[in-house]
Subunit: 155 residues, 2 copies
DNA sequence: GTTGAAAGACCTAGTGA
DNA sequence: TCACTAGGTCTTTCAAC
């Protein structure tokens, strides 16, 4: 697919939808001084071409009993393809694991873990994460406060 | 406010909206075998009570030229309130900084940085991040691959 | 690519059960 | 909680520019 670059109107629409995807075409068209049909067509194209991957509700994690967030750095015994693949396959099955990235540097993976409290993290660590094969070390860091947490990319 | 706990219907609705917030009340009511009026009232309450914080479009970062993601661990010279506050105030102004968490452990903050490539990261590091006052050290790790990246909490 | 108009779908609030 | 209703809003399509 040709990477049809975004023009200024596309960018303005994406900025708005990154903040609030429930904005109506009418509201957007008013804000950007374009017709409803134009806005509608642009958004249809942005979805079809994959610029907009998903539209999701963001929950307040403290209200649903996920007050503790940890980042866990995992180092594996070796880097055989099967070792990496097995770790990835298994770790993403844990519901506590919100994100898993393979990394450059002094460890192999970084995980973002969300649990209700330290006790729940401990249970997760001891009975789930640490039981996976080929793990050399796990180092965990806990979030004290969220200074900024944004899903919107500047455009 | 009393923390009115979520009942099974609330949880099912939140599960669906975390995956796709554009589902119509009609579709949800069909899936969960409830009336549209019931679904409508539940969602209204979930928003009002703050369970649903925001509804956002998630973009494909590779398509908008943010291919490189880094985690940067920052250690400050001291932990005076003003030192912490100044760092936070300044760092969240950088558009490359998607997230900033104050952490427990051997460093003070972890940042998630999104840039177009390593050169852009280098520019950010050299001319923005490293110029902030009272920084002792910055250690950066780069994402090789995204194994899992979810905004939806299991319920 | 953009526009206005028109038809159909959906939202929302209300009533009564 | 549900079924039903009705007015108002929004989506989606399309011929025309």
């Amino acid at each position: 697919m040709i990477n049809t670059d975004l023009d200024p109107l596309d960018r303005e629409i994406l900025k708005l939808l990154q903040q609030d995807v429930l904005l109506t075409n009418k509201e957007i068209s008013y804000t950007l001084r374009k017709s409803i049909a134009t806005v509608h067509e642009r958004i249809r194209r942005l979805r079809e071409q994959g610029y907009i991957k998903r539209s999701v509700a963001i929950l307040d994690r403290k209200k649903i009993n996920r007050s503790l967030v940890a980042f866990s750095q995992v180092l594996l015994n070796d880097h055989a393809l099967s070792t990496l693949a097995t770790f990835e396959e298994e770790v993403i099955k844990f519901p506590e694991v919100m994100e898993c990235f393979q990394m450059t540097g002094t460890f192999d993976f970084i995980l973002r873990i969300a649990t209700s409290d330290m006790d729940a993290y401990h249970q997760f660590y001891r009975h789930k994460l640490a039981t996976l094969p080929n793990i050399t070390s796990i180092q965990s860091f806990f979030v004290l406060s969220e200074t900024k947490s944004d899903t919107a990319y500047p455009l």
